[in-house]
Symmetry: none
Subunit: 222 residues, 4 copies
């Protein structure tokens, strides 16, 4: 947008400039709220704090999102949308099944690392028994394509005789997700209990390879 080139940055001038920009206001609120919910959890986040970090006022949050839970729900949905959108960038068609699977795993690993706020939001959502995700049919649809992609690669590998039969694609996705997710979600406790080595650059490179290796070894014929 043109106006972004403007170098003004004080909150006041922004405030003035952004008036009458409902979409801008909405997305600004969502961005702030994502960060606050991810940092403090649903109960721990403060509406006052969110509003203060926004370029608009508390009243607007209620105007757009109804209440705190509504805001959280919108943040959750938006986060899933953004993340799944980011995953579409990956191109695997030209690779062998093994390479494609490895690429997918390692990409997921990196993608999760780069989106810790999303990971934390999913942790929080699980703490809340997935209640808010359940209200959102849209998100489920988004995720089904993830399984399709895994299934396509796996089936290709089985057809080529390099992957063993009898594995359900969702389990492959499950393993990739689990390792990639845990790497971010449990970093604090794991590194405290077992050392920081796995979490510096070298350690993360090791784990990235670990994920690729382990999933390829898991599906490969012996």
């Amino acid at each position: 947008m043109d106006s972004q080139q403007d170098t003004q940055s004080s909150k006041d001038s922004q405030r003035t400039r952004w008036k009458q920009d409902p979409e801008g206001v909405r997305s600004n609120i969502l961005a702030v709220a994502l960060s606050e919910f991810a940092e403090h959890g649903l109960s721990g986040a403060r509406m006052d704090e969110i509003a203060a970090k926004t370029r608009t006022s508390k009243r607007m949050i209620y105007y757009y999102f109804g209440d705190k839970n509504g805001l959280y729900q919108s943040v959750l949905e938006q986060a899933y949308r953004t993340v799944r959108h980011g995953e579409k960038e990956l191109q695997l068609d030209d690779l062998s099944p093994a390479d494609a699977l490895r690429q997918l795993a390692e990409f997921t690993f990196e993608h999760h690392r780069r989106n810790p706020d999303f990971i934390r939001l999913v942790m929080i959502e699980n703490i809340h028994h997935g209640d808010y995700l359940k209200n959102s049919d849209e998100i489920r649809a988004l995720n089904e394509t993830a399984i399709s992609r895994v299934a396509a690669i796996y089936n290709k590998g089985v057809a080529a005789g390099v992957f063993r039969k009898g594995i359900v694609p969702v389990a492959i996705h499950w393993q990739i997700s689990a390792l990639s997710f845990f790497n971010v979600s449990n970093r604090m406790t794991f590194s405290h209990l077992f050392g920081e080595d796995l979490f510096d650059e070298a350690g993360q490179a090791l784990l990235r390879r670990h994920i690729g290796d382990s999933i390829v070894r898991f599906v490969s014929v012996d």
Copy 2:
């Protein structure tokens, strides 16, 4: 009136019976608080609610644990102690390296499944950046033995020529933990997005085998 002695609620009669039982009171508080923190998180749990489910009063919680954070910290420590204690039951000495590793993985999977409150507590602790675990040196010591056990099995396997060299034991532990943990921690979102199949009895049996297979395949020589 005489009849009142018989119709008193169980809580009242317990109260009378348990007076001057510090250890009982402490552990009762911890048990209730574990359940409440696991259910609602640190910010979400309510001291009033915890106290009400206790056989003692809110005042005693503060007497023994200082404040809400102190209670949470004690709950966290106690939970780690209990869980690590439970893990000691496993006997692997008579098994081949591969079988031992598989047993360890599957045992961990089952153990985590059986302790969802502990898993949730660790999720919550990670939401809080592991701040409370950091205050507790005792817990770190408890966990170091977990790595030793993995290392012993792995080294035996390498010596026997059945495991490949160059794998760090903590990465093996990491994989087992990640899969076992994620199975519980992310059940709600995962099952909503990708189906319940992996979480009924058959699905869990599949995943248990998956964990064993994947870790053994990961370390085995080709």
Copy 3:
């Protein structure tokens, strides 16, 4: 019912009338809080009691003043401002140095007598080691003019040859303050131990003259 409009308690009708009057609310809270802190001290005053005597609610006290200490600090600052403002009324320019000094002393005596809540607040602040006054630079400035005034009179007297040299103005102020302050602050214990005589109208007139005499005699050449 129509009649309810007329029978509403004065507080209720005020409440309605005063809505959206921040300055009114603020000053009402400060007035009530001054009286309560002066009466019961910082620890002894009760936020509930303060709020109840206010035309607004407890919540608003926190909205405007943050917490109990913040309220106390604001009360202290406001009290100093009010009192120092009251002192400005005194006109001494046309008097001889001796008369001016006597007037100043007797005025201070009367002024302190008329502001027992302020005196008690200063007592309380001293009990708290002056910690809250230290946070307030504004108040210090207010008080420096008091010394200037004494210095002006004293210097005029020295120049006229009626006051002896070598006295520091702050010591003159100190004596006037001490006697005027003590008359209020220690009235209860002093009158209990040594009789009420000094504290009825005649006694206070005596002490007023005493203060004037003693300070004039102190500075005069023999």
Copy 4:
């Protein structure tokens, strides 16, 4: 006492040693409570804190003093007793009336400086409207001698023709008390507002002379 020569000092050994020493326990409690009440005020002092700093237990405080107010009352009485006892040391018989009065004033100044806890206790008692002092007839008697002494000096001075007639002795005592008391009680606010100069060693020497000068000048014939 012989046992005091013993060099043991740990709380435990003292505890053992002081068993069955009711007077020692009482005076230990009073000493601790004096310090705590003087530091924090009546509402601000904490029974737990007092008990913890005692060589005995909370239960004993209630056993000996009934409740918090009773303890405070006993502390107040004891403090007055101790201070008035200290004042008896002063010997003025051999001095001229003027010198005796000056000595009395300067002695009082020093004596108050050396007993800030007593001063603070009297401040606190005045905050509480002297309610606890009123319950204590014993203390009043103690203080009457103070006036007698002033009267004796004053009458001697009048008889000798060096002091002017018509001054009530209690007013002389009032001035000495006020200046000596204020020097300690209002030190924190006064020094913050008007500078520290009067409160270092040189400043205090100046004020001591000031007190002597001002009272002698006040009573002297011109």
